[in-house]
């Protein structure tokens, strides 16, 4: 990082757009965990979740697989709440990093306050981003192997889902161009990173929001990548899932909430990390990276870091490079964790229908002393969440 950044004006609204797989989960988690410290320092961070979720989906008229699109009033109420706050506000959602509709961007800027809004976006080196982006797609149902997915991203066009989904989030020129229609260039900041400085993003937030140094340093482990082996297991499960025609709801509940969760727990040293880029794609990645560095120079926006780090290192294609072939084995630990994850998700709750049966015998009241401690703890947590939500609704 070159020089320290000046804090944003005291009433600024900082909107972080991600995009996906650029360290957003870690920074969101840190912001969320320290939201009371932020509040003391005059920075408001929404309390509902670690990032904007339903609020953003309401604006985008879109929701992730298996979730319903919330009514647009969810966004309108939320934005009104932000406007009503006199202090600094920080908002973060990588979903907005993939906006392509200028009208939506315009609405965000207008609703949050054109005079207060600052936008932050991260440009992560493609050679770092690609493997982790692919595995993130696999967590959402992708069926293509890494190699096939790369072919679509670099040789395909927008008619192919992999191509569209990657470049929708990671074409900085397009993203910046749209926001710069609504905002002056000095209120748009690009942070460039090649992962060598793990504290870069947290430092940028600390400085822009005038927070104590080190407050937002990542705790580690947030949204860590799958191993190559686990990703291959999940990819095959995705294929089978699609072939069976099972529902999005089941995908969300049992694959995301079961298999993926299980795989995150079942890490084993015998599984290998995601492979680097296969040799055939390196020249193409180099080309796109050079174009991106030039684009960042042309935009005239604030740039944190040296854009040259976005260029991939020359010729590290290794002999025996296996990145074009998918792993053939997976650790028993990961596979067992995947299966247990499904059982966890399935046994956690009974389908709602079962609760609707007609009564015959008088219900028996369990004394509280016979309720397991974990159930009591869960109930307390549920009530706490409920309180937070009602508070947010009231304040909105």
């Amino acid at each position: 990082m070159t020089a320290d950044l000046r804090p944003l004006p005291p009433a600024a609204v900082l909107l972080h757009l991600g995009p996906y797989k650029t360290g957003s989960t870690a920074i969101q988690q840190a912001l969320f965990d320290h939201r009371d410290v932020l509040a003391e320092r005059g920075v408001h961070y929404p309390e509902s979740w670690r990032r904007l979720h339903r609020e953003g989906h309401a604006l985008m008229r879109w929701a992730p697989r298996g979730l319903a699109v919330p009514p647009v009033s969810v966004w309108d109420d939320f934005a009104a709440g932000v406007r009503a706050r006199p202090e600094r506000v920080c908002l973060s959602t990588e979903d907005f990093g993939r906006l392509r509709n200028p009208a939506r961007v315009q609405k965000i800027v207008r609703d949050l306050g054109p005079e207060r809004l600052h936008v932050l976006v991260v440009a992560r080196a493609f050679h770092r981003l690609l493997p982790s982006h692919w595995q993130e797609r696999v967590k959402s149902g992708e069926q293509l192997t890494y190699d096939a997915w790369l072919h679509q991203v670099f040789e395909g066009d927008d008619s192919q889902r992999a191509h569209r989904s990657f470049w929708t989030s990671h074409d900085i020129e397009r993203t910046a161009g749209m926001w710069l229609e609504e905002l002056p260039a000095d209120r748009f900041t690009v942070v460039v990173t090649d992962d060598s400085d793990r504290l870069l993003l947290s430092r940028v937030f600390e400085q822009l929001l005038d927070l104590p140094a080190g407050l937002l340093a990542p705790a580690g482990g947030a949204n860590a990548s799958l191993s190559a082996n686990a990703a291959e297991l999940l990819r095959r499960v995705n294929t089978a899932f699609a072939e069976q025609g099972w529902s999005d709801r089941d995908y969300r509940r049992l694959v995301r909430g079961g298999v993926v969760r299980g795989l995150a727990r079942g890490r084993s040293p015998v599984d290998v990390p995601l492979p680097p880029l296969p040799a055939w794609v390196r020249p193409l990645v180099g080309e796109r990276s050079r174009a991106r560095v030039e684009a960042i120079g042309r935009l005239g926006v604030n740039v944190v870091g040296d854009p040259a780090v976005l260029l991939p290192p020359d010729g590290d294609a290794r002999p025996g490079d296996l990145s074009e072939t998918a792993p053939e084995t997976v650790s028993a630990q990961a596979a067992a964790a995947a299966i247990v994850g499904i059982l966890d998700a399935a046994l956690r709750r009974t389908p709602a229908r079962r609760r609707g049966r007609t009564a015959a015998a008088a219900p028996v009241v369990t004394p509280v002393s016979a309720v397991p401690g974990r159930a009591i703890a869960r109930e307390l947590a549920r009530r706490a969440r409920h309180r937070v939500r009602s508070r947010v609704r009231r304040s909105g």
């Binding site: 082996n229 291959e232 297991l233 095959r236 499960v237 089978a240 899932f241 069976q244 099972w246 049992l254 694959v255 298999v259 084993s268 015998v270 599984d271 998918a326 792993p327 053939e328 084995t329 997976v330 650790s331 028993a332 630990q333 596979a335 067992a336 964790a337 995947a338 299966i339 247990v340 499904i342 059982l343 966890d344 998700a345 399935a346 046994l347 389908p351 229908r353 079962r354 609760r355 049966r357 007609t358 009564a359 015959a360 015998a361 008088a362 219900p363 028996v364 009241v365 369990t366 004394p367 509280v368 002393s369 016979a370 309720v371 401690g373 159930a375 009591i376 109930e379 307390l380 009530r383």
Partner: protein, 397 residues
């Protein structure tokens, strides 16, 4: 009493009790497959399934984990079918090998004290042990590694659940003893399995039942072994199931069955290993126990088909120690296990949501925590470890 398997008397009821992992699935599948030919030869194989599992469970008061016991009617129905059958009858269920004396007595009384002949298959220990461990991992949530399980089963004390179960089902003297309480020795048949002769069991059944030689060709079902890699996956799932306190949950039965089906469905890969030979440390104990089995059979006075000497096994002093369980398995097998587990869960949820409303179900218990203040709940939580500590102290003093 060393004998050749001769034709059983007309009206005989041959009760094949396994035990487990002695080739029962193969012979049952063959008997089921050839029902019509059996009937033509005057032999009844009761029921409609490949073995008489449910009637045997009804007799033994057994059920699938967490499910209701099989109604005893199902045993009575089979008994009625056997009694009404002319000619010879054969029934087969390896679960009879775990029958306690009271069940043995009832079985014999119900099927006809003068008609029943029991057939026990004795298998060499070094062949039996690997299959028995694997079956436990697949069916009864065994969490021990192969090595740990072997150490318990082969220990001199024979203590611990693994050892007790194994020897209850597989101890030759024990089995003969249990059936001797209800049957004369000449109607207890022990077939010594010849690991090298795949036709031995079918041909024995053919001769006992008066079927043309070669009639009992293999049926469609076999209980094939899984590779060590795939068993290790099951074992790790078992560990998690135990940690979560899910043992006994009926809701695990279907997912577990489907998971195993998934594991079986993916073809064996070159890099996979089958269950290894017994390690050298088992040698002396193996020899001792095998000799004991052979001797007790020779001295038992029951009808022995085959040579008890085949039961004698000497360990291989050069055999390698067992390694740690394999760390990885083919991703194809893992994926198919995951897919089948998903299918089981999704299928069950669907079945439950479309099931007709059952009347007379008790209402769900009201939420015991509703209406209790958060503060009271916290107090209750805080009270507990203290109460536990007090109880523990009470026991110690």
């Amino acid at each position: 009493m060393l004998t050749e398997p001769g034709l059983l008397p007309d009206g005989a009821v041959l009760v094949h009790i396994g035990p487990y992992k002695t080739g029962t699935t193969a012979i049952q599948s063959s008997l089921h497959e050839h029902r019509a030919e059996l009937a033509a030869a005057g032999v009844t194989y009761p029921g409609r399934y490949h073995r008489q599992m449910r009637p045997s469970w009804a007799l033994l008061g057994r059920s699938r984990v967490g499910e209701a016991e099989v109604p005893v009617d199902e045993w009575d129905e089979m008994v009625a079918e056997v009694r009404a059958a002319p000619g010879r009858v054969v029934i087969s269920s390896e679960d009879f090998s775990s029958a306690r004396p009271v069940h043995v007595r009832r079985l014999v009384d119900d099927l006809g004290p003068d008609r029943v002949h029991v057939l026990i298959v004795a298998r060499r220990l070094d062949k039996l042990l690997p299959s028995a461990w694997q079956e436990r991992v697949k069916s009864v949530n065994e969490t021990r590694t192969y090595d740990a399980w072997l150490r318990e089963v082969l220990s001199a004390e024979r203590e611990g659940a693994a050892a007790r179960t194994f020897w209850h089902n597989h101890g030759i003297a024990t089995l003969i003893d249990r059936w001797s309480g209800a049957l004369p020795p000449e109607r207890i048949l022990v077939l010594v399995n010849d690991e090298a002769d795949r036709r031995l069991q079918p041909s024995t059944f053919e001769r006992l039942l008066g079927l043309p030689e070669g009639r009992l060709t293999p049926g469609p079902h076999t209980n094939t072994s899984l590779s060590m890699e795939r068993i290790e996956l099951c074992r790790q799932v078992n560990v998690a199931v135990e940690e979560r306190g899910w043992i006994g949950s009926r809701r695990l039965n279907r997912p577990r069955r489907r998971m195993l089906a998934g594991l079986r469905s993916a073809p064996l890969q070159d890099h996979e290993t089958l269950i290894p030979p017994l390690p050298a440390w088992t040698g002396p104990r193996l020899q001792e126990l095998s000799d004991e089995r052979a001797r007790s059979l020779e001295e038992s006075g029951v009808r022995v088909l085959g040579d008890p000497a085949l039961l004698r096994a000497t360990g291989d002093p050069q055999a390698a120690d067992l390694e740690e369980p394999p760390a990885s398995l083919p991703v194809e097998a893992a994926a198919s296990a995951v897919e089948e587990t998903l299918a089981a869960v999704i299928g069950r949820d669907r079945a439950e949501s479309v099931a007709p409303r059952r009347p007379a179900q008790p209402a769900p218990a009201p939420d015991p925590l509703a209406g209790i203040s958060g503060r009271a709940l916290v107090r209750e939580l805080v009270r507990r470890p203290a109460a536990r500590a007090r109880r523990t102290k009470g026991i110690a003093s």
